[in-house]
């Protein structure tokens, strides 16, 4: 057993209001620069929808992630030891700016400097790359709130395998539904971007599992952009270097939550340490599709188990990190309650960002074409939800409905339980029946309710002490260290000649 710690995340989608505050926080801190202007390390997508970059989940187009052919060990779909040589001149699976959008600004000066005339001057949109006039036809959240749209929602790759009736269920007028999917880098256990980098510029930090790109070693071979199935590595077109979400490690190192977590209005984000067994990574990444969700869970170790604690200590994991893992909200969501699921586990990168799937809107069960509020149907069953289970299974279950059904059922049971507790118009027996069916005790339901609805800052973000950086302070001048954080070196990153 080779125990390692990983800073992991949970996004509670039932709470996401799609305000994009996270995206703006990230943009302001990290990517408000030339060349990074089109990058959204954090973005919020409307689902069903095509996302950013357009249809990123369609791996027949993008060839991201790992692929498994029969009994063969998994391969990087877009490249490999042999293909790396021809791919280096021209990467056949490299998305281009057209798949994202051309960043633009507005010619604000014209508002002040326009010649006097009979019309109001306007600020025309201009390209941030060429400075020329631009016809804006796409943006990072261009399909925002466009659930039911025939251009966007209907082209969602997750609709694969849904029956005609289920598709109709998602998009028919008065019934159409949408939810939000905020995305950052998943800081995977088996990162495809790292494995694909010809220069070895990408790496996973041993102590906390954050995946970074060494800007000094990146040579713009572009493999990571093609390889990441979540399209969360981006190519800086100006500096000629790839960049990605750094999980705000300079903030984490001083005990602060990442900017997107910190600013989240809906308080949907949780962060904490998971301990896992790195020796079994290869075995789990090679499991058949239907065993991947369970397989990934089997990697995660119980931080309360004395045997695990002893082994973690002997593996050099500091006590502070183990203690942090014991309080981790992520462990509760993923392992204790099993209501948080990995996105697209079938890409086999073993993402360490988990999502609590959203419940569909509570009211408006239709009876004879009218919205019904009858008490016995207060919360519709999960199978009557507007979003078909199959859709969630494609997104969060690797195609398996079982794990999603379990997560949804438990959330529903918590709702019945709390309704019985607080409003009292639901009898206790009904609530108990739902809890029993969802394999959930009253204590567990209370704990889920508390961590979902009444969570404080400290409940949501259990940031481990970053021993690595404390150690740096011993040998390095703290001010110098501070100036170097972010990209890890002093001086403006100047583009090559």
């Amino acid at each position: 057993m080779n125990i390692r710690s990983q800073v992991s995340m949970v996004f509670h989608l039932d709470k996401c209001i799609g305000c994009h505050t996270c995206s703006i926080a990230c943009k302001n801190v990290w990517t408000d620069r030339k060349g990074a202007d089109y990058m959204w390390w954090n973005n919020v997508e409307t689902k069903p929808g095509t996302g950013y970059p357009t249809k990123w989940e369609d791996q027949e187009q993008y060839h991201g992630g790992w692929e498994k052919n029969g009994d063969q060990p998994i391969n990087i779909k877009s490249t490999g030891k042999v293909r790396v040589i021809p791919n280096i001149f021209h990467n056949p699976y490299m998305p281009s700016m057209d798949d994202y959008y051309e960043p633009w600004t507005y010619d604000y000066q014209n508002l002040f400097n326009a010649e006097e005339g009979s019309d109001q001057p306007i600020a025309k949109p201009i390209s941030m790359i060429t400075g020329e006039d631009i016809k804006v036809e796409a943006g990072p959240n261009w399909d925002d709130d466009l659930g039911g749209s025939e251009i966007y929602a209907a082209n969602d790759p997750n609709l694969k395998g849904l029956s005609e009736q289920q598709r109709l269920q998602l998009s028919s007028v008065e019934r159409l539904v949408l939810f939000y999917l905020p995305r950052i880098c998943n800081h995977c256990l088996n990162p495809c971007c790292v494995a694909s980098c010809p220069s070895g510029a990408l790496y996973k930090r041993g102590e906390d599992g954050i995946v970074l790109i060494d800007q000094k070693k990146c040579r713009a071979w572009r493999s990571c952009v093609a390889a990441c199935p979540y399209k969360k590595t981006y190519f800086n077109w100006f500096t000629g270097k790839s960049e990605k979400c750094i999980l705000c490690f300079p903030r984490l190192e001083v005990g602060e939550a990442p900017a997107c977590f910190h600013s989240c209005v809906g308080r949907i984000r949780y962060l904490g340490v998971l301990l896992y067994d790195a020796d079994r990574l290869e075995e789990v990444a090679n499991l058949p599709d239907d065993q991947l969700v369970e397989g990934q869970r089997s990697l995660i170790l119980n931080p309360h188990d004395p045997e695990i604690i002893r082994k973690a200590q002997s593996a050099g994991i500091p006590d502070g990190v183990i203690e942090s893992a014991q309080r981790s909200p992520v462990y509760k969501f993923v392992m204790d309650w099993k209501i948080a699921l990995p996105p697209h586990i079938e890409y086999r990168t073993l993402p360490m960002l988990f999502y609590v799937p959203p419940m569909s809107p509570v009211i408006a069960n239709f009876e004879d074409g009218l919205a019904s509020h009858k008490m016995q149907r207060l919360f519709h069953g999960i199978d009557e939800a507007r979003v078909p289970m199959k859709y969630f299974a494609n997104l969060f279950g690797g195609g398996q409905e079982g794990v999603v059904r379990y997560a949804m059922g438990k959330q529903l049971a918590v709702r019945w339980h709390r309704r019985a507790e607080t409003v009292g118009d639901v009898d206790r027996a009904t609530a108990d029946r739902f809890l029993r069916e969802a394999n959930c005790t009253i204590e567990e339901a209370e704990a889920i309710y508390k961590l979902t609805s009444l969570c404080t800052f400290e409940d949501r973000f259990v940031i481990p002490p970053m021993y690595r950086e404390q150690a740096i302070e011993m040998v390095k001048e703290p001010h110098e260290q501070r100036a170097e954080t972010g990209f890890g070196f002093v001086g403006c990153p100047q583009r090559g000649l």
């Binding site: 030891k81 790396v84 280096i88 001149f89 021209h90 990467n91 056949p92 490299m94 998305p95 281009s96 700016m97 057209d98 051309e102 790359i129 060429t130 020329e132 088996n190 990162p191 790292v194 494995a195 980098c197 010809p198 220069s199 070895g200 990408l202 790496y203 996973k204 930090r205 041993g206 102590e207 800007q215 000094k216 070693k217 990146c218 040579r219 713009a220 071979w221 572009r222 952009v225 190519f235 077109w237 100006f238 500096t239 000629g240 270097k241 790195a278 990574l281 290869e282 050099g316 021993y467 690595r468 150690a471 740096i472 070196f489 990153p493 100047q494 583009r495 090559g496 000649l497």
Partner: protein, 230 residues
């Protein structure tokens, strides 16, 4: 006398200045500005014509450059190969083919950079100067192959000794001074390109990712340990 002086300048002084600049500046730039070592790919900004320009150019120039190096390093073996006429023809024709491939690719690269407004934004004056040098160099190279055939043999007998004399710090310009002006141009421009090399995007040739072929799949960096494993 002035001709002698001129030859000494072009084929002795200039090569040494260029080679010295090359070694000094590539190492300096790698140590001080390793961030700037990048292929500066523009595939992200323009992906439609990228393949048709960049791929022929790279395969072409790699084979042609490798050919020059071989003739420089193992002239005797090359002459032995060329002792049978059909083998000489095969070599000459394939060399010319790759030269033309380079030329087509290079023209494609330049046209692509000029025609795409986005790619133009990431093209510096240095790039344009470099493209001009490479274009003249490739055109002169292909012309030499056409007008002064059997270069694989006369390079081995005449140019290789000259280059070795430079390398051995005992410069002898006898052979090169007798060459036609087109060949002289090609030689001078080759050294100029080598001297200009560290100031251009060409440095990405030096950081080709050979370790990928035998490194472990995953890369983990530990602060607390010297070496990590997957």
């Amino acid at each position: 006398m002035s001709q002698h002086f001129f030859d000494q300048f072009l084929f002795v002084a200039l090569p040494y200045v260029c080679l010295f600049t090359f070694f000094l500046m590539t190492i300096y730039r790698y140590r001080v500005q390793s961030f700037s070592y990048s292929s500066l790919s523009s595939q992200f900004l323009e992906n439609k014509h990228h393949f048709w320009a960049v791929v022929p150019f790279h395969y072409g120039i790699l084979v042609v450059t490798a050919g020059h190096f071989l003739a420089f390093l193992i002239p005797r073996s090359l002459l032995a190969w060329n002792s049978k006429p059909w083998r000489l023809y095969v070599l000459e024709i394939s060399a010319l083919a790759f030269g033309i491939l380079t030329l087509i690719g290079l023209v494609g690269v330049i046209v692509r950079r000029m025609s795409s407004s986005k790619v133009r934004m990431v093209t510096t004056p240095t790039d344009w100067l470099l493209f001009l040098m490479l274009l003249v160099q490739t055109v002169s190279g292909v012309s030499i192959a056409l007008f002064y055939p059997w270069g694989s043999s006369w390079f081995a007998t005449n140019m290789s000794p000259y280059l070795w004399s430079i390398l051995k710090l005992d410069p002898d310009v006898t052979f090169v001074a007798a060459m036609p002006w087109l060949v002289k141009l090609h030689v001078v421009l080759a050294f100029l390109t080598i001297g200009f090399f560290p100031f251009t995007r060409l440095v990405h040739v030096l950081v080709i990712p050979n370790p990928y072929l035998w490194r472990k799949t995953q890369v983990v960096r530990w602060y607390s340990r010297k070496e990590g494993k997957t």
